[in-house]
């Protein structure tokens, strides 16, 4: 990934040059600006430069709305790219934002092995302790043996007899102080309790977990007020 980050920096230098020329020509609505901003908006965060991505998105959104970006938006993107490309090899002016951290224990219940491993890695990387179960049945069967946990992060759709909602209800009955965060790939379920839609980004998951842990213990279960 480091090689890709370096290639992104080199590309950023070329994009910077092009955008500066468009600004100098007083042409922030040029097709080349749209293409460049659109591509940066979709890629910068993947390579670890989310602030460039956000600045590019501000420019791209103007084009998406059928208008042209204002000079301030374009200058903002140019400033981000300039900071990135002028940095020394060891500098990280645009490194990912300071992660939201915690030390609590999280129970992850997710039947997709890759997603479970991804969530575990994301949360451990932010300081949390993590225990995992592949479905609701396993989580309930192991509940007594698990260390005390402060948050249940569960998929709503789980194989077996115990779905995500039923699991949350049972855990809240036994441990009412536990916070619950649901996830699902189905947007229709997004209205339920604390929720993060799949696919989630790791930094977004960590931020959401911190937010839910800091919330009151009520309003955690689906259907609760």
């Amino acid at each position: 990934m480091e090689a890709l980050r370096q290639r992104f920096r080199e590309r950023a230098a070329r994009d910077l040059d092009l955008l500066r020329r468009c600004l100098a020509a007083d042409d922030p609505g040029a097709a080349a600006v749209e293409t460049t901003a659109h591509k940066l908006a979709g890629s910068a965060a993947i390579f670890g430069f989310p602030q460039v991505g956000e600045a590019a998105r501000a420019v791209d959104e103007a084009f998406a709305a059928g208008s042209r970006p204002d000079r301030a938006s374009l200058e903002g993107l140019i400033a981000r790219l300039a900071a990135l490309t002028s940095a020394g090899a060891g500098a990280e002016p645009d490194s990912p934002e300071t992660p939201v951290r915690g030390a609590e224990t999280i129970l992850i219940v997710e039947d997709d092995e890759l997603l479970r491993a991804n969530a575990e890695r994301a949360l451990r990387g932010h300081g949390y302790q993590v225990v995992c179960a592949a479905d609701g049945d396993e989580a309930l069967a192991r509940l007594e043996a698990l260390p005390p946990f402060q948050l249940l992060f569960t998929d709503l759709t789980l194989p077996g007899a115990v779905g995500g909602e039923a699991l949350a209800r049972e855990i809240l009955r036994l441990r009412p102080d536990v916070r619950v965060l649901f996830t699902s790939g189905r947007a229709a379920e997004a209205g339920m309790g604390h929720f993060i839609a799949k696919p989630w980004r790791r930094d977004a998951l960590a931020a959401r977990v911190r937010e839910v842990l800091d919330s009151p213990p009520v309003e955690t279960g689906p259907g609760r007020p």
Binding site: T35, H38, D60, L115
Partner: protein
């Protein structure tokens, strides 16, 4: 888990490389990459039979929607599932892509760790 052959079409080489690394995390997925809509159509005409096509929307010359329209004319690809990839997540844009015949949209920047799951989710949502 069902094996899936994915054809990924994107003009940005670094995005193709990240997608390849991402899908490689899922041993049940195999990948063919193309750098343009024209290259993708050439592969399909030559007999490439992907289970799903990941198609970048904004590409030079032949863009994603244009590629989709052309591939629907190819015998055997009238129903091949297509998932658009785009940095534009406005609901009007997403609706437009679905209306064009895509089974789903993956918004860029995507999370490399969960790209494979996003592909499967989009296919599952389409009944595949």
């Amino acid at each position: 888990m069902t094996r899936l052959h994915v054809l990924h079409v994107d003009d940005e080489p670094d995005i193709r490389e990240v997608a390849a690394m991402s899908l490689d995390l899922d041993p049940s997925m195999s990948l063919t990459s193309a750098a343009s809509g024209a290259e993708a159509l050439g592969l399909l005409e030559a007999g490439c039979r992907p289970d799903v096509i990941l198609l970048d929307v904004m590409m030079p010359e032949l863009d994603g929607p244009g590629t989709l329209a052309r591939l629907r004319q190819l015998p055997g690809h009238e129903q091949t599932p297509v998932i658009f990839m785009t940095a534009r997540a406005q609901s009007s844009e997403l609706s437009r892509y679905i209306a064009l015949g895509a089974v789903g949209v993956i918004v860029k920047p995507f999370d490399p760790m969960s790209l494979a799951a996003s592909v499967r989710d989009a296919l599952a949502g389409a009944g595949g």
